[in-house]
């Protein structure tokens, strides 16, 4: 390319902004479908919310120190964190590899992960906008106890993007298994089962048995669910909040390294079927 080129970091930022914007435009074309899909996604947290608030009320207003209002706050914030956690899934990888749809991305002088990250980041802005009225309704229905400090709000704002990166890298690595296996659904189902139990998605981690908490402590799952939620609704100390962000950064680095390592070998197996 003979054109005068801006610096690499500025160019990458420009790409993220442009790609995010095109994704927002695409998403707005299907806003009703997106909204219906988001409402459908509410079934899961509402079940948890109803179950735990009921148990809490039956046990005199709390379960292991978590009050009914705190459960409500946990699962309402959960809905936002879950939306932030939606990333390009292994099913998507399976489709793009099996059908040869990865070819267009491979022809660009940019790692396909940038495209996934930028597109889904753009998508988040639409879902957050659509999530706000849903959050208001849930707030009015379940009366949560939520009184975060400014620091907690700041850490939460960073942590939800950290969660997004952790889950993107984790699921991209899993998705790349398709380069060897053609199908990845069974592995993805196993991932979902582990994530449900060990991330705080099903129940807040302190309600899990000690052994499960010990296992969760050495795995990345809780940093994409429990930590960001608890950063806002819990009462972490400043040290806990900052060390939580550091743990997220560590997992992002580890999983990004793993993703890039797997990619180096995986892409050699691409057969560009049909395209």
């Amino acid at each position: 390319m003979s054109a005068a080129q801006p610096g690499a970091a500025r160019s990458l930022f420009d790409y993220y902004v442009t790609r995010g914007r095109t994704q927002i435009q695409s998403q707005f074309q299907y806003r009703v479908a997106t909204y219906m899909w988001m409402i459908g996604m509410l079934a899961e947290p509402i079940v948890y919310l109803v179950v735990w608030t009921t148990i809490s009320e039956q046990q005199g207003g709390s379960v292991q120190g978590i009050s009914t209002g705190e459960f409500a706050a946990y699962y309402i914030v959960w809905t936002l964190v879950r939306n932030m956690n939606i990333v390009f899934t292994p099913y998507g990888w399976e489709w793009r590899i099996r059908e040869g749809e990865l070819s267009a991305a491979l022809l660009r002088p940019l790692h396909p992960l940038h495209d996934d990250l930028a597109a889904f980041a753009g998508w988040k802005f639409v879902t957050i906008l659509l999530w706000l009225p849903i959050a208001v309704v849930l707030w009015l229905l379940f009366d949560p106890v939520l009184d975060p400090t400014l620091l907690e709000v700041a850490v939460f704002s960073v942590a939800i993007w950290g969660a997004y990166l952790i889950r993107t890298m984790f699921l991209s690595t899993l998705g790349m298994i398709t380069f060897w296996t053609t199908r990845v659904s069974a592995i993805f189902e196993l991932f979902i089962a582990l994530e449900l139990l060990l991330s705080g998605r099903l129940v807040p981690l302190p309600l899990m048995p000690d052994w499960a908490e010990d296992v969760a402590a050495v795995l990345p799952f809780q940093w994409s669910f429990y930590f960001p939620i608890q950063a806002l609704v819990g009462d972490f100390t400043t040290r806990e909040l900052l060390s939580g962000l550091a743990m997220q950064a560590l997992w992002i680095a580890v999983l990004t390294g793993l993703t890039l390592f797997v990619w180096r070998f995986a892409v050699r197996r691409y057969s560009a079927v049909g395209n």
Partner: protein
Amino acid sequence: MSEPAVRVAQLNKTFLVPEREAGLRAAVKSLIRRQHREVRAVDEISFEIAPGEVVGFLGPNGAGKTTTLKMLSGLLYPTSGEATVLGHVPSRRERDFLSRITLVMGNRNQLQWDLPALDSFELNRAIYRIARPQFVQIRDELIELLDVGDLVRKPVRQLSLGERMKVEIVGSLLHRPQVLFLDEPTIGLDVTMQKRIRGFVAEYNHRYEATVLLTSHYMADVEALCKRVVVIHHGQILFDGQLARLGDDFAAWKTLTVELEDVTADLSGYGDVLERDGGRVKLRVPKAETARVTARLLAEREVADLTVEDPPIEDVIELVFAQERP
């Protein structure tokens, strides 16, 4: 002598394909012991393309054309052998390499489906890091050359196949690539659209001295654009040379068209009669016999006119494709 833009040496690509008989029993058996078969899609091919050259890459379906183009554009990792494009090894997929090539596939959509093509062009500007003033100039020039000013504002999904192909080409050339790999760029298009795209490729090659490797099943594309063709079949190169020479190597006959005064004359003794229209007779004659038969006709018949031609390129290509693996 400048460095070749494309250099391929003993390039191979082998796919391992799972294989089993039909039926439940075979399916159960394959659970325990999976059988594979090696398919050699590209077999020890070598060729070079000079900068600015337009080369037709011909072969029947499954010959290995697209596999070769995919290896040259960095999509596929070769099994063995060497390939360089503009001095880069394609499989390394370096930024500088990918910024200087393009692969246009007639059956492939690379633009954002739901958005007007202009938005996808904007995305390509960011991907290829094109400075905005240059981007606007190139984009507008391509839009004008391909006459797609009205189309680029419509969502891509609402465009016809031909319209989509034209905006695809604009999107693929915004970074002004020096090497174009065109895989059936005119497939499924009507004759007018094919002609327009052919004209555009010729103009692009002329204006920017771009190197073009083109596959097409439409011989009109090849005849209009390529002086040189590489013919591949069963993964191996059967011919590499001037298009005009293809007939010499593969067609064992020539066509003689004779105009006679005598409309009833029987010319079957001179060669195979292909057509007859009054006194105008078209004969197929073995190449080695052409001079002798021509002399005989002129000596023995009242000939008003006589022309000797190579067979049409379509017929020659058909002959080439009919070749079996050596």
